[in-house]
Structures are given as structure tokens and as C-alpha cells.
Symmetry: C2
Subunit: 213 residues, 2 copies
């Protein structure tokens, strides 16, 4: 049980990230030792230090694994209508596009335990200081970009005369973004699911409906 092939080494790397997720979730990021992670991954700290510089690097790897794909997917679902692609979300009306992209995120979280756990870690098991503060800024940037996409969708909806009332697409987008941000937080904190988890989809539909003519 010593030297492995490159493929084995990659598996070790992944299992360390996997282990980190489990231990971070249970003990919080600060309180988990590299020893904890190593034990969970059934390796020694030597292996951990071989693959990662320190705990922060593991944290970043974990984030990249779960966060980025979801952000990308959301971005994609909010993209401008593309008439060549009949199978995608893009032929829906803009409001339905918004609704679908939000719902999709929730569905993903519901079906993917690991992603759910990672979100929980990022939201309530991590202190955003020093090495971790940058992650927060990145998240904020992602949020901004998504808000802009939502705004564009609302602008399309407006020009298609789909909106009730006369609110600015900007204000609508910010409101939607804050709603969804709050929903994700509550969704994560609501461990037993009694408050938000089981009605998240409903809440999204209701939120979007409020804007529909």
C-alpha cells in the first residue's frame, strides 16, 4: 500500500475531498483537523499534505466541485432564447425561464446529497475570514452575474408585455435574487425540511406568479 499509479493517486485525491465534506459538515471547517480528514479518507496526513497545501486548499477544491457546475447550469438556463435549440429551456417565455432555473437548482440540491452538504458547509459551517474571505467575494460576484441574467430575462418579459405592474426589471431582478438567496439559506438551515424544503418549488412558482400579468 505505497506508491500508486496516477489514476490511483487521483482517486486518493478525490476521496480526501469526499472525506473533507463529511467531516466539515459534522465538525465545522475550523474544528476539523487534517488528521480527521485523513482518518475519514483512510489515509495518513502524509497523503493529505501530498495532495493539498493546507485545509483552505481542500476547502476550495470542495467548493469548485459542487458550486461551479450549479452556477454554470443556472447561467445557461437563463441564456437568451435560441431558436435552434428546441429541447432546452430557451424556448420558454422569460418568466418561465426564471422559474425553471430557480426550480432546477432546488431539484438538483434535492437529488444530490453531496451538493446539498457542500452548500450547508459553505453557508453555516465555515467562517469567512483570511484564507476563506476570498471565497465570499467570489460568491458575491457569482450572485451579481446571476442577478444580471435575471434582469435581462425580466427585460425580455417586459418587452413581451408579460409583466404585471410597472416595476423596473432591475428591481424585480434584485427582489428575485434576494428571495432566492434567502430561500437557499433557509432551505439549507431547515434540516428536517418541515419549514421550507418541501415547499420550495411552490414558493418559487408563487414568487414568479406574482409578477405575471
Amino acid at each position: 500500500m505505497v506508491r500508486k499509479t496516477k489514476e490511483d493517486a487521483e482517486l486518493t485525491r478525490l476521496s480526501i475531498i469526499d472525506a473533507a465534506r463529511i467531516v466539515f459538515l459534522a465538525r465545522g471547517v475550523s474544528r476539523t483537523t487534517l488528521e480527521h480528514i485523513a482518518t475519514q479518507a483512510e489515509v495518513t496526513r502524509g497523503a493529505v499534505y501530498w495532495h493539498f497545501k493546507n485545509k483552505a486548499e481542500i476547502f476550495h477544491a470542495l467548493r469548485d466541485q459542487a458550486f461551479l457546475p450549479l452556477i454554470d447550469r443556472m447561467d445557461d438556463m437563463l441564456a437568451v432564447e435560441n431558436t435552434n435549440d428546441k429541447t432546452s429551456n430557451k424556448q420558454e417565455d422569460p418568466l418561465t425561464q426564471i422559474e425553471n432555473s430557480l426550480c432546477h437548482t432546488i431539484v438538483e440540491l434535492n437529488s444530490d446529497l453531496q451538493m446539498r452538504q457542500t452548500y450547508e458547509i459553505m453557508m453555516i459551517k465555515c467562517e469567512y475570514v483570511e484564507d476563506f474571505a476570498t471565497v465570499l467575494q467570489e460568491i458575491l460576484n457569482n450572485c451579481s452575474s446571476i442577478t444580471e441574467k435575471i434582469q435581462l430575462a425580466y427585460e425580455r418579459a417586459k418587452s413581451l408585455n408579460l409583466l404585471s405592474g410597472s416595476h423596473s426589471p432591475r428591481a424585480l431582478a434584485l427582489d428575485t435574487h434576494l428571495f432566492f438567496s434567502g430561500l437557499l439559506h433557509m432551505w439549507v438551515k431547515d434540516a428536517d425540511g418541515s419549514r421550507f424544503r418541501f415547499q420550495a418549488i411552490e414558493l418559487i412558482k408563487s414568487h414568479v406568479d406574482l409578477r405575471r400579468k
Copy 2:
């Protein structure tokens, strides 16, 4: 510089909580030592251990100091109209009541640096595990109770025929709660204020307006 009067001791206690806030904010809760807090408060760890059992107890004290008053105030502003009290928020229409209670919280946060810092600690400088997990549950309970108050206000608004559309007060309340929860999070994370801090009031007004007939 040894034994003090009861009043002096109470001042020491408060200065320890004050110091904890400063250090928690800068270093995160986990990474701050009781030594850090003691130094900041210009006492020794002896004094800290005299007044508090451990770090978690300081954390709880800090929370009680900043959180509870704000919650109470919000609760109060959402209370049922009281015709005897002409000076309060209670003579406003229910939707304005909701708007005011949300705005009030933001104004408070804007004017009270310490409260703002405490919120920041609770949201992004603390890991909710073990000793701290209970705090999260308490926060969730507070949220539930506020949501209920908001729902009651929406019900009053509905019976006064102030609402546009035909959405249920329950759905409206949840939506508002999630919006505000998201707003608080963003408000706190948005350190330089460029994204949310300076337009929070506007966003609240716009959110409530969306529901007004």
C-alpha cells in the same frame, strides 16, 4: 488593579463581550482565543473565565445583546393595530406596517455599528456546530414567529382589500420573509455597500409595492 466593586465587575463583563465582538469579527469565532479576547479587553484570561464558562457562553451573551432587542422591536411593529396608541406604527395600514418594520431593521443596522458587527459575526464568522447549533435553531424559531406576524399583517391587508392579485397571505409572508432574509445576508456580506447596502430601503419599498393594489 485587583478587586472592584460590583459595578466595576459588570463593566468588565461588558468590556469582555465588547472585546469578543471585535475579535470575533476580525478572526472568526473559532480562531479567536480567550487570550485574544482578554488582551482586547485589557484583562487576563482569569477575568474572562471568572465571568464566562467558555467561548460559547460569550457568544451567547453577544447574541442576546444585539439580536433579541431587534427581534422584539420587529415583533412590536408588526403587532395588531392599537387605536389607543396614535404615535406608533400601529395606526398605519398593514402593508405600510410590514414595510416600516423591515425598513426599521435596516435603519437600525445602519446606525448601530455594534449591531451590524454582531450580525456579521452571526452570519459569516461563525460555524453552527455543537455548542453553536442551538443558536441556529433559535434563529429559525425567531424567523418563524416573524413570518407568522407578517402573515397576519397580510391577512389584515387582504380583508382591507389592499392587496393586488389573489395570492395567499401565507405565500406572501413566506416570500417577504425570504426576501428579507436574503437582503440581510447580502447587506452584511456587501462590505463596501456598493451592491445592496445603499439601496436596501428602496428594495424593501419596491418589494412591498409589488403587492399593493
